[in-house]
């Protein structure tokens, strides 16, 4: 239950949900591929916060272990994604996510 003067895990879960929604909104609204990537990072972080909260609630290390994997996957995703963006923006300076539609066969 959400209390007022004691921080319960519910607060962290709610904060994670709000951060995730903000990330979703940003991902859908922005067209700069770099900012879209940052919004994905935001969503991943909201999920890791939720995982850590559940890990604490259940007194289990599984949640924290998954956060490690999420970190690794996020790092790999950023590296490859930024390499693609660099390759794209070198060819077409000022390209937005909409311009990637030219890739459609």
């Amino acid at each position: 239950m959400i209390g007022v003067d004691v921080v319960t895990p519910a607060w962290y879960l709610a904060l994670g949900a709000v951060l995730f929604s903000i990330g979703t909104f940003g991902l859908l609204v922005r067209r700069n591929p770099l900012v879209m990537f940052m919004c994905v990072e935001l969503m991943l972080n909201a999920v890791t916060l939720t995982f850590v909260t559940f890990s604490r609630m259940l007194r289990d290390t599984g949640g924290q272990s998954i956060v490690v994997f999420v970190l690794v996957v996020a790092a790999a995703e950023v590296v490859v994604g930024l390499a693609i963006i660099v390759a794209l923006l070198r060819k077409r300076p000022g390209a937005t996510a909409d311009d990637v539609a030219i890739l459609e066969g």
Partner: protein, 220 residues
Amino acid sequence: MIELAVFVIAGGAALVGAVGVVASRNPVHAALSLVGTLFGIAVLFVAQEANFLAAVQVIVYAGAIVVLFLFVIMLLGVDRAENLRVEPLGGGQRVTAGVVALGVLALVLTTLASTGWEATGVVGEVDEAVPDIEQLGEALFTRYVYALEITSVLLVIAVVAAVALARRGGREEEIVDPGQAEREAEIGERMAAAEARAGSPNGEADERAAAPAEAEEAAP
């Protein structure tokens, strides 16, 4: 009481940073707002006794990923003003995005509320006397050892892919630079000819894709 203060300050920093990422016109400001969010979440990790993860969060995210973002932004020079003219989008997509985001939020919150904000499931046996890093290490190298090894393979693949993508771009640019305009015109002609020959059914789609690019170039 202290925990409440920590939560309010760190959570507030995370929220302000998140809004900053979405609302900043300049990608550099968005990246710096992202640092605020990441630090806030790192503090919340500490508040939840995940000290190791908080350190990793700061080192990997704030220390590496955000620097990578900033590096790419400044390398490409996408923080110039003309880029921002195409942004933000018109009303339709914004409203849809708002509806989707609020829907996600409502879905998650109602799901959590339906469980009474309690986690149900197998309760593990975390021993508060043992540091979290020891327990995490033990879990990673026993129960999740295969997953851990696979992530190392993933990292190698990612590094190789990034080097391949970035290098190829660089070399091409160096070689093409002298006669780039001519070459591009030639390629464009060839593609147009091929399209005309094929009588391509997706010619419309190509025109549609090309139109915004032209409009962008026309803008001062």
